[in-house]
């Protein structure tokens, strides 16, 4: 169980008023959780990770693994980073070029506090780590003679060889090409489940986050703005920022036409008069402004029972699907439809969606 409570680390920034860092971040992770910190660059996700690692010293807050407190500002506890027993994969992999693959991976075992384990134990553990990441037999290679994907695997093996309680991954896939990234995404997730280590993963790529995580925390300007499982984050965005950062959400702005209790359905009326039912996670009173998020793939093009009407202005055939831009009043609604039929540009269309897939986000 990893506990992070009220974690704050603020960087003074000379260039603009917006200071970087992280503010009052809190989360609890049960053992074995794959947890992702997701957000645009500068949102504080890497700072959070580096605070947990011990690479940065937070201004305040508590970090604990189980009952072991790693950092507590109020009690002036700060375990040095080399005694935290955490595994980490760096964005650059940080494979030491002057060592072989074997020596890279054996390093955490050799420098372990207390007695260095016997040679056979080191060999056994390194071999096991190598086979876990699918690099059996690569031990004797110089570290400079590895491809990007292999370096990535060595970095991972080095991070797990001493069986850490916590694994930190700092954008580990961002230096790989697209095809390899896809493959490693599945591989990483499989590995994490196999060894069952609690993992914090930092990324700005929402599809990575959605595909791999048990839980996701979306960060903006140093704060965690929403935390939940991937489906929740995707289908129930808590605010406009989350809705637009995760996937290409359509944001429709109108007023509340029918009051709703928190978590129940109400109705929203757009300026052009179109009215539809939708979910009010925080509740709503009649007449208040409301922004509704609807996912492009939740919208169907229909000839009858349309909630919205507009005209197709652009069509792109994507193979498995077709993407339409539909002009509704002065906003463009994006719709993803099946590839079996195409609607030509300039055609007037009607659109419809389930009330449960339209969420008020602000």
């Amino acid at each position: 169980m990893l506990t992070v409570h009220d974690l704050t680390k603020i960087y003074a920034n000379r260039f603009d008023t917006q200071a970087g860092g992280v503010r009052e971040a809190s989360f609890d992770l049960p053992d074995g959780t794959f947890f992702t910190l997701l957000g645009p660059s500068g949102c504080g996700k890497t700072t959070t990770l580096r605070c947990v690692a011990g690479l940065e010293r937070p201004d305040q807050g508590v970090i604990a693994v189980g009952d072991r407190v790693l950092f507590d500002a109020s009690q002036r506890i700060a375990v040095p980073l080399n005694e935290r027993g955490i595994g980490m994969v760096f964005q650059s992999y940080a494979i030491w070029p002057h060592m072989t693959v074997f020596e890279n991976i054996a390093f955490p075992l050799r420098v372990a506090k207390g007695r260095t384990p016997p040679r056979e134990a080191i060999e056994r553990d390194v071999e096991q780590a190598l086979s876990t990441v699918g690099l059996s037999g690569y031990g004797d290679r110089p570290a400079t003679r590895l491809s990007g994907g292999q370096q990535q695997r060595v970095a991972l093996a080095r991070a797990i060889v001493h069986r850490p309680k916590l694994l930190l991954l700092d954008e580990p896939l961002s230096n790989l090409d697209a095809a390899l990234r896809e493959e490693m995404r599945i591989e990483l997730r499989r590995l994490q489940q196999q060894i069952g280590v609690t993992t914090i993963y930092v990324t700005h790529d929402q599809s990575e986050a959605l595909a791999m995580s048990d839980r996701i925390a979306v960060m903006e300007k140093g704060r965690i703005v929403q935390m939940g499982d991937p489906r929740e984050i995707y289908f129930r965005p808590a605010n406009v920022f989350v809705a637009s950062f995760i996937g290409a959400a359509n944001l429709l702005t109108g007023v509340c036409a029918e009051a709703a209790a928190p978590g129940s359905e109400g109705a929203v009326r757009l300026p052009d008069g179109a009215t539809f039912r939708c979910l009010f996670p925080a509740g709503g009173t009649a007449g208040q402004a409301a922004t509704v998020s609807v996912r492009p793939e939740s919208i169907a093009l229909v000839s009858e029972g349309a909630l919205l009407r507009g005209e197709v202005t652009a069509t792109s055939f994507l193979g498995g699907s077709v993407r339409y831009d539909v002009q509704v009043g002065d906003t463009v609604v994006r719709v993803v439809g099946g590839a079996e039929r195409m609607v030509a540009s300039g055609t007037p269309v009607g659109m419809s969606f389930e009330a449960s897939s339209a969420v008020v986000v602000g």
Partner: protein, 570 residues
Amino acid sequence: MSGALTWVRQDMRRVIAALVGIVLAVLMLPPLWILLQDSVTTTNAIGDVTGFTAGHFAKLFTDKDALRSIWNSLVFAGGSTVLSLVAGGVLAWLVERTNAPFKILAYLATIVSLGTPYILHVIAWLFLLGKVGPLNDIYRSVTGGTDSLFNVNSMAGMILIEGFLWSPLVFLLLGSTFRAANADMEEAARMSGATVLQTLRRVSLPLAMPAILALALFVFIRAIGGFEVPALVGMPGRIYVLTTDVYEATIVVPPDLGYAAAFSVVMVLIVAVLLYFYSRLSKNAEKYHSVTGKGFRPRPFDLGKGRWIAGAMIVANFCVVLLLPMITLLWMALLPFLRSFSLAALPMLSLKNFRTVFTAPGYVELATNSLLVAAAAATFIMAITALAGWIAARRGPGGWLLDQLATLSLVFPGICLGVAVMEVYLRVPLPIYGSLWIIAIAYVIRFMPYGMRYVYSGVLQLHHELEEAAGVAGASSLTTLRRIVAPLLSPAIVAGWLFIFLVANKELAIAVLLASPGSQVIAVSIFDQWVNGQGGELAAFGLIWTVLMTAIACLFFVQGRRGGTDVFGN
């Protein structure tokens, strides 16, 4: 007619390359040729070759003194290399990678030492460690005896002084190595459970090793060719190295130029072999370049309580490299004659020496001469290397040849180049010998490689598509050079100019054989005054000069940080 014109325009780069190549060849080749020729021939009084001989080399390799000089050179260079690497390297690591206090002092010492002629440092140290200096003074007052603790005119004294002369350069170059190092590598080791010391020993040091070895070789080469310390510290103690042997053979009457040339050829060969290994090592250092991350500002190592020990080391270095020598020079400048630090001497302090410097004829002219010669050499070098470096870096016509020609003089220790240039221009029927021009020419030959390095690495930093885009847009290669390359390259050119200007005003060895009474430069004049025992005036003048040069060194430092070119392109 228009066809021919088009050809010229299209092949402007060829024309430029040919012209630059001719200039470089005329400058760089004759000194090497004349050294080789002199070393195997006999000449009559007016310098005509009268016959071939192997006698110079035979004398060199059978003469016990000559062999001892070779051995002394190796010990001297080796010892001072180790000392400067340890002192400068530890300082660089502490300043760049830890949270030690007082870092600013390390930069201060470095900037000032960039501007100070080596010979001033040497003189200050000679006094500090000398017979009447404070070190032996304190020793005598403690023991009550009359003997000295330390004889500065010894190999140990030479190594000590030369080592501290080079440590600021080591600090600068290793500092940039440590700064550029991928901090992830060290953080990964710490995350794996390693302590600071384990990380240093098993990751930081091995990673920096290629750069450290290359730098060691570089300092060794410079120390082999070093002249100030062997001349001022070694010669009075009858300890000769190769450079002082060359000097002695040249200034005796009649000069034994064949013997000096043979010595020079030996040194040039040693240096050439070392340079070959140096270039291989530098290439090898690039092997360790790795994928870089997002460049999160690297967090310095927390030394805990040890940071105060580290701070004390930085302060101690500051005292040794800057404070003590400067105080010594000030002491010397304020006294009418040289004597040890003592309260009894206080009433004698006066500004008389400083007044003399400003009023006596000669000093102002000397300063103007030095500045003019250095500026002229720097300007000419940067103009030539801007073209040569661009063509070489872009693998233009004859680029490889231009590169070789421009960096040829790296094999010359300063004193050997002095001998060679003297010989060449004695035979040229132009009134160059005995004028300031000959010093300017020697500077140009000597520092051409530095200009080349600045421009070359500057061009490599420019994406070649910037030039190709200009070509596609319709610009000729001359226009591209003028409108695209030159403006983008100007920070590197300015940095190179300032660097050459600074080192030209520092070095004694090149000019010492070329200066004549009417055409002096600073370092030579200080040398002569020291030999003549005019310590006070030279200290006063040296201090004023140091202030001036430090101001220029500051400019250079700021330019280096701003222009993105590494400080010291070699």
